[in-house]
């Protein structure tokens, strides 16, 4: 019987150069794995692979040297530890994320919760080509948002609370964009310079900032054969609902306009930026 490599690839089995050997990609979300999952992965790598795993560039785990005739057995063994194969090919891939606000002092948003939500909403969704989401919690950009087809970066929109402020001046220096000035006991924020990093909020000793967490979204990043940084074409998004609408719109645009084997960036270039921007802005403005 002929081997259906396309189906295997869809199911996360990457054909190796060694005949009848596959590197099995596992489903991960936001680089998060439980100890139970890791134990099962170790057991399977020992029993069915060559006793090691490969950590991929996008927070994935692959078990190399899985044999063609043991694929079903391996899947069943992994399932016992709540581990399932990932995907390769033309569809929505692993949603990557930094540790975010749940763990990191710099985080502005709960990246892992968002990664899980996007994974449930889109993982494996069929598209003209691979499609990557990456979520980073703040401007430090540890997760490199702009490398992704859709990159999401956490931020904070800030407003000064005069009656709490002690005019200490810490936020003026904490801001790396020189957006804050303190004059005659009053703080003013240059919104044109503010990049929503939230450093003023986090450094303020008396919580004299109202902070609205939200998202800065970039589109069309790709870092493989062609290197291109995702672009931000809409303002800071405060609402979670709106973020999802915008993500939906990007996927829909790609689904309807993309050609097989063409990354979102090239679909945007080919159809003209205006068409893509129109679709995204409609989703952004639509309440």
């Amino acid at each position: 019987m002929a081997v259906d490599y396309a189906t295997l690839k869809k199911g996360g089995f990457m054909r190796q150069k060694q005949k009848n050997n596959f590197s099995l990609r596992l489903r991960t979300v936001g680089g998060h794995m439980s100890a139970e999952q890791l134990a099962k992965v170790a057991e399977v790598a020992e029993k069915y692979g060559e006793g090691y795993v490969h950590l991929t560039s996008r927070q994935g785990v692959e078990i190399p040297f899985i044999k063609l005739d043991q694929i079903e057995e391996v899947k069943n063994a992994l399932a016992e530890g709540d581990v399932v194969p990932g995907v390769c090919g033309p569809r929505v891939r692993t949603v990557t994320a930094c540790q975010g606000a749940a763990i990191c002092q710099s985080g502005c948003i709960d990246t892992y919760a968002l990664a899980k939500e996007l994974d449930e909403r889109y993982f494996g969704y069929e598209l003209p080509h691979k499609f990557k989401f990456g979520i980073t919690g703040c401007q430090n950009n540890c997760l490199k948002a702009e490398e992704n087809d859709v990159g999401i970066k956490g931020g904070m929109q800030v407003a000064w609370v005069e009656d709490k402020c002690i005019q200490c001046g810490v936020c003026v220096k904490a801001c790396r964009n020189e957006a804050i000035t303190l004059e005659d006991g009053k703080i003013s924020i240059d919104t044109g310079k503010c990049n929503y990093c939230g450093r003023c909020v986090k450094s303020c000793p008396v919580d004299a900032y109202d902070a609205q967490p939200g998202y800065i979204v970039s589109f069309g990043g790709t870092f493989g054969n062609h290197i291109s940084k995702g672009e931000t074409i809409i303002p800071f998004i405060e609402s979670h609902e709106k973020l999802l609408k915008v993500c939906d719109a990007a996927l829909k645009f790609f689904e309807q306009n993309g050609k097989a084997g063409e990354r979102l960036k090239f679909t945007i270039d080919r159809t003209g930026k205006e068409a893509f921007e129109k679709a995204i802005k409609e989703a952004y403005e639509n309440e």
Binding site: I166, V170, K173, A174, R199, S203, P205
Partner: protein, 81 residues
């Protein structure tokens, strides 16, 4: 502007991150609750980050003064034992 009274002072302009914060933290550890430490620090990374790190340790930031020589002095009241 009224001068802030302080009990101890530490100069962290002669060290780099992360020793900047460590030096300030050690100075605070040797003080009593409620006492005020004056921390002299450089422009750039120290003044951007050290006040926040001290805040995250739970101490109370009172004021950041700009000195004539381009350095800053941060006044911190010790909170906790």
């Amino acid at each position: 502007m009224s001068e802030i009274h302080f009990d101890e002072q530490v100069d962290i302009t002669d060290v780099v991150c992360p020793v900047t914060f460590v030096k300030a933290k050690v100075a605070l550890e040797e003080m009593d609750e409620g006492q005020v430490l004056a921390v002299k620090m450089n422009d750039g990374e120290p003044v951007q980050n050290v006040p926040r790190s001290i805040k995250e340790e739970g101490h109370q930031i009172l004021k950041l003064d700009t000195n004539d020589d381009g350095t800053y002095t941060l006044f911190v009241k010790k909170v906790g034992e």
